[in-house]
Amino acid sequence: MKKQADTSSPFKLSLGDYIGISPKIDLVIIQKLADRFAGRHFLHINSTRSGGGVAEILQRMIAILGGLGINARWEVIEGDARFFDITKRIHNAVQGNPEQFSKDMWQHHFEINKKNAKKLNLDADAVLIHDPQPVPLIEFRKSGKWIWRCHIDASSPVSGVWGSLKKYVKKYDAAIFSVAKFAQKLLLDEFIIPPAIAPLSGKNRELSSDEINKALEKLNIAADKPIILQVSRFDRFKDPVGVIKAFRLVKKYNDCRLILAGSPATDDPEGEFIFNEVREFAGSDPDIHILQLPPTSDIEINALQRTATVVIQKSLKEGFGLTVSEAMWKGKPVIGGATGGIPLQIIHGVTGFLVHSVEGTAFRIRQLLNNSEMAKRMGESGREYVRKNFLITRQIRDYLSVWYAMENKGKSVIEF
């Protein structure tokens, strides 16, 4: 194989760091599969080195796989501003938002990938291409199994856009979607692997009470009464105004605070407008805190989630909605809109409540505020559910399993 620049992860994580955190079965299966794949090459390619859940998981996954003797590499494609404008539009169109595309734009998408293909070492035993940005790299495949990993909801794409992408996707050996309902029908193996959270990251690791107090002090939040929290960017689909309406219904009966915390997204021009609209709607109520936090606020978000009594994710439309798992991991009961990937995380009445209205949200908040035993029980069930289903180790296990299954194609039961 061609000599490659060091693209290993700067993280010093190993599988052993997850002992006592992740289910043992996941660690054992990862170890066993890694023994099979020792010395072989596993290449991941996406379009950003930092920011977003995919990069956060890749940083850690590459470190863990490397520590297990797999030659795991992570490459990031480069492009000009026009390329990223086009790929942002593709991203939106795959999720069903109307966008205009010209032939020239698709050509530019391909040409940038072609340039990257010349620079990158695409030689590997398994190649995982993340999302639509690098999807044309399949045209330059050399060896190994090529898998397209779609992290977004592709259930109702703009048809012309999907048609252009599909030309590439159908050349892959397999595709992976996060949820069955996000998938498109393709004539290739389609695996369903939900995303995951990193339990040792700043956003999710255990915090000392000192760290929590410092973060609350920094945000000027008093923990003198129960806290209702929603963490999400300021977007109509997250229904921040609906959350405030629900809070006002709750306030008639229970004294509590509401915190809406989010970070601005550079690719969301509407964000600032919604933020101001939400602030205006909140008025001068001293118990409502609208926080626009810098993207580097992982510890602060972590502290808020650990301080909250009830966490809300009242989305009207959602991708997977991993903030639900993040809150559940901290032992909090979560009330979520029954949309996107949220029903996969919230088992109604067991790990939280699924709601369909402002009134439903208010009712469930009151139920949890007035029944601390129920809140505790749901929080504990939620944490265990996340431990079993939505931690990074389960995702690594699944990626290796898919690779192994593809090398044993045609078998529905594989003993190893």
């Binding site: 289910p23 043992k24 079965i25 996941d26 054992v28 299966i29 066993k32 979607f177 069955a180 309902k181 998938a183 498109q184 029908k185 393709l186 193996d189 389609e190 695996f191 369903i192 692997i193 949309t339 996107g340 088992i347 067991v350 790990t351 559910y385 079993k388 296990r397 699944d398 399993s401 898919v402 192994y404 299954a405 078998k411 529905s412 039961v413 594989i414 003993e415 190893f416």
Partner: protein, 220 residues
């Protein structure tokens, strides 16, 4: 004295595969059920137990009928079908179809699922691997069964039932064949797989094996 064949604990994990087919109403569920692979039926019924039984009903079809279509009576009928009472998937498929047909003849126009709540037919690939623990006697078995992962209990207690030639759970099979403990084997076989979660099944197994060990130790 003949050497006892040790019990080797194995565990399994599944990887989900989409088959690209969905149903938005009962008629489409019926058509799907008639046409999908045995593996897909197997996944939505037998493998339901691998997921730890957090939900209200006892298989994916019943769960969707109850939650997605809000046809609670149908959900109850479907939930009452015990997949382990059938010799093969064909028999199970026929029973599922019969129940749906009866319901459709009584209620020909059941409601449609809301957009996004459709039923998605899937399959799963199962990966099986040894846990690395063997039991050579009942005391070792007891220690292991307390701590193995739930997926291990699924593999030996649930999945084993559809594995020829024995078609019984692996635990009772070992108690009878290797330890010559027929009575214990029968007690284990009397645990209703259909009515217990993996953790409840574990507790029953621990109770039975502990009692058996106590009785063995009191013998002189």
């Amino acid at each position: 004295m003949a050497e006892i064949k040790p019990f080797e604990f194995k565990q399994c994990v599944s990887i989900l595969k989409s088959i690209g087919r969905k149903a938005k109403n009962l008629q489409e569920l019926r058509e799907g059920l008639a046409g999908i692979s045995d593996e897909s039926i197997f996944h939505h019924t037998y493998q339901y137990f691998l997921r730890g039984r957090l939900l209200e009903y006892t298989n994916d079809f019943a769960q969707w009928a109850g939650e997605g279509l809000e046809e609670r009576a149908l959900a109850e009928y479907l939930s009452n079908i015990d997949p382990y009472s059938f010799k093969d998937v064909r028999g199970l498929r026929n029973e599922l179809l019969n129940v749906i047909d009866r319901y459709l003849s009584d209620f020909p126009k059941p409601r449609e699922a809301m957009r996004g709540d459709e039923f998605y037919f899937n399959e799963a690939i199962i990966l099986i691997s040894p846990v690395g623990i063997q039991a050579k006697n009942l005391a070792e078995f007891l220690m292991a069964i307390k701590y193995v992962e739930p997926e291990c209990i699924y593999f030996h207690f649930y999945e084993a039932r559809i594995r020829p030639p024995e078609e019984v759970d692996d635990f009772s099979n070992w108690f009878e064949d290797a330890l010559d403990k027929r009575e214990l084997a029968n007690k284990v076989r009397a645990i209703d797989p259909f009515m217990h979660s993996l953790e409840e099944t574990r507790r029953h197994l621990i109770d039975l094996v502990e009692k058996e060990l106590r009785t063995d130790m009191e013998r002189f």
